[in-house]
């Protein structure tokens, strides 16, 4: 009875013909999402000389490893920027997890008399902000963080939205009874927090931790505002600086005010693309974690009182 067989198939599926069309559309879009990265990888492996005549090609005439060799030979800047980014990302993630989890735990506890006040204290910052310039003034003039590594860490350390996500996680995921039993056993609040609450909330912490790792790794904005010292420029900001100095040189090379020497000391196109690749590779490696926990973070949902 072929008819019955047909009826048995998953009701949530299109007919075979549509299935092919849908596969094509989704496949093409997925390809387009990945293609620019692949293209930049190809450019980074292209022979520099062929660029002048051919431009960027999907299939270059000649391949070469020169760009990567150049980077590893003259790689001080890149290495230093890598160092800055790793330092900032590690310290930043630890600091922000600490601040966020403590704050979120306190405002999740019903026994905390001021939990409403501190919830609102956090939520209000999502609704109304002073804006870029007043923040800049406070960070540079009051905190004196201009050209300090902390100017890359602190502005991203806390975020009311993460607090609310984690608070929901604590309220729904950690029963009061467990905490009460800890109290009966005579554990103090900090002890309960570190030995009972933290282990139980690892999935939530992982989500927030990855959000903030990605935020630090990809940050260039705070460097744009606060960092002039070339020794403290993180990876993304360094890529940005190279780009704008290249533009400056291109605009001024026509009237001969820039010497050939300066022009040659700048990283070539392929080397810059190789740096882009090297800045992106860690994200590709961390990808499986990111994807899993980001979806989870999205579906944690409910941010409410």
């Amino acid at each position: 009875m072929p008819n019955v067989m047909k009826k048995k198939r998953n009701f949530h599926q299109a007919s075979p013909g549509w299935n092919i069309v849908f596969n094509l559309i989704a496949g093409i879009f997925a390809f387009l999402c990945v293609f620019p990265f692949v293209f930049v990888v190809i450019i980074s492996f292209t022979e520099e000389k062929t660029l002048a005549t051919d431009g960027y090609r999907i299939i270059p005439k000649a391949w070469s490893l020169d760009a990567y060799q150049y980077i590893f030979k003259t790689g001080d800047t890149l290495l230093r920027s890598y160092g800055v980014t790793i330092l900032v990302t590690v310290i930043g993630t630890v600091v922000s997890l600490l601040l966020i989890s403590l704050y979120a735990y306190a405002v999740s506890r019903r026994s905390f008399a001021y939990r409403r006040f501190f919830s609102l204290f956090a939520i209000f910052t999502m609704l109304f902000s002073g804006g870029m310039i007043p923040t800049y003034i406070v960070v540079t003039q009051l905190l004196g963080l201009k050209d300090s590594i902390w100017a890359l860490i602190l502005p991203l350390a806390l975020n009311a939205f993460y607090i609310m996500i984690l608070r929901t996680f604590y309220i729904t995921g950690i029963p009061d009874a467990i905490i009460e039993s800890g109290k009966i056993d005579g554990a103090g609040e900090f002890r309960i927090f570190s030995t009972i609450v933290l282990p139980l909330s690892l999935p939530g912490l992982a989500t927030i931790g990855l959000f903030s790792t990605l935020g630090y790794w990809n940050d260039w904005f705070n460097a744009l505002l606060y960092i002039d010292d070339p020794n403290k420029v993180p990876l993304q900001a360094m890529l940005m600086r190279i780009e704008s100095s290249m533009q400056f040189i291109q605009q001024n090379s026509a009237n001969g005010s820039i010497s050939l020497e300066v022009l040659q000391s700048m990283p070539q196109d392929t080397a810059r693309m190789a740096m882009v690749v090297l800045a992106t590779v860690p994200i590709i490696f961390a990808y499986p974690f990111f994807q899993r926990y980001f979806v989870q973070g999205l579906t944690v949902g409910g941010v409410k009182e």
Partner: protein, 310 residues
């Protein structure tokens, strides 16, 4: 009275200690900048005596910064750009993300669907600096893939970074490219949560796939669509700084179509040095943005109490 406050303080001592570091952070990075918005009513000068001194001793100018801001074309053009781009992002982003989610949910091979999703997710994880480089590999005047392709078909090269006409399309495309894969996940999750028996019943009644989408999937998605849209409307006065600053490579000829409130404020701080006026523009953004968030949150509350922000 004082005694009872003291007792309650004592009882909550440990919890207060827990919120203390975060509260200090909020004080410095959220609440003191609020005080700093006074600069919008000042002719602000950076004094070496620090924050409070500069704030108190800068010359009071009342509403002059605002008057000047709104007497220039800039105020109109940055407001228009910010709003129009965000409206395009909200409408197109919604249509494409929902369409993509429906499409992914219909695929027979779940392994393939997962693979596609993995690809679509990638752009979301990359910084705007990287995306700016990607765009450059396509749009570069003498080396880019697009000009190369144009030449191949016997057409003239374009000066992409000097042609304001094309940028509204480029920016919308780049935005969609970066965000749809991510936002479709939200819709996909709720499609997968729809009761299967609804589709079974529809199929027994002879409903076509299109009819099922129109009469089951879309109505079931309605609440989440409304909520996501309203939350986006609440942020409609804020532009994505990276998109408008990195992707056009800060090209001056493009400012007429790439300057939004956020880039305007930044340039006021770093390039033109008009601190007072830029702070005024930022405060204008914050105030209108606040009203919009409150209104949209009020509407979300009416639609679905659980999804409201507060």
């Amino acid at each position: 009275m004082v005694g009872s406050f003291f007792r309650s303080f004592n009882r909550n001592k440990v919890m207060l200690l827990m919120v203390l570091p975060g509260a200090i952070w909020f004080l410095f990075f959220s609440y003191l900048p609020l005080v700093g918005t006074i600069a919008a009513f000042k002719q602000y000068r950076f004094s070496r005596h620090g924050f409070w001194y500069s704030l108190v001793h800068s010359k009071n100018v009342g509403w002059a910064n605002f008057k000047f801001l709104f007497s220039t074309d800039a105020a109109w053009s940055i407001t228009r750009n910010t709003l129009l781009y965000n409206i395009a992002f909200i409408v197109l982003g919604l249509v494409f993300a929902v369409a993509l989610a429906i499409l992914l949910s219909e695929l027979a091979n779940k392994k393939l669907a997962k693979l596609y999703q993995t690809g679509m997710f990638l752009p979301y994880f990359l910084s705007w600096v990287i995306v700016g480089y990607f765009a450059f590999s396509f749009l570069s005047m003498d080396r880019g893939l697009l000009n190369h392709t144009l030449e191949y078909f016997g057409m003239d090269r374009m000066q992409w970074y000097n042609d304001p006409k094309v940028w509204p399309y480029i920016l919308v495309l780049v935005y969609l490219w970066k965000s749809i894969g991510y936002s479709s996940v939200v819709y996909l999750a709720s499609i997968l949560g729809i009761d299967r028996s609804l589709y079974e019943a529809a199929m027994i009644d002879g409903a076509s796939k299109m009819q099922q989408v129109r009469n089951i999937t879309l109505p079931m998605l309605k609440p989440i669509i409304i909520i996501m849209t309203l939350l986006a409307v609440g942020k409609i006065f804020y532009a994505d700084f990276g998109l408008f600053y990195q992707v056009p490579r800060d090209s001056g000829t493009l400012y007429s179509v790439t300057n939004v409130i956020d880039t305007y404020v930044y340039r006021g701080l770093k390039t033109t040095g008009e601190i007072g006026m830029s702070t005024a523009a930022g405060l204008y953004q914050s105030v209108v943005g606040f009203v919009l968030v409150m209104v949209s949150n009020y509407v979300v509350r009416k639609v679905d109490k659980d999804s409201a922000l507060f």
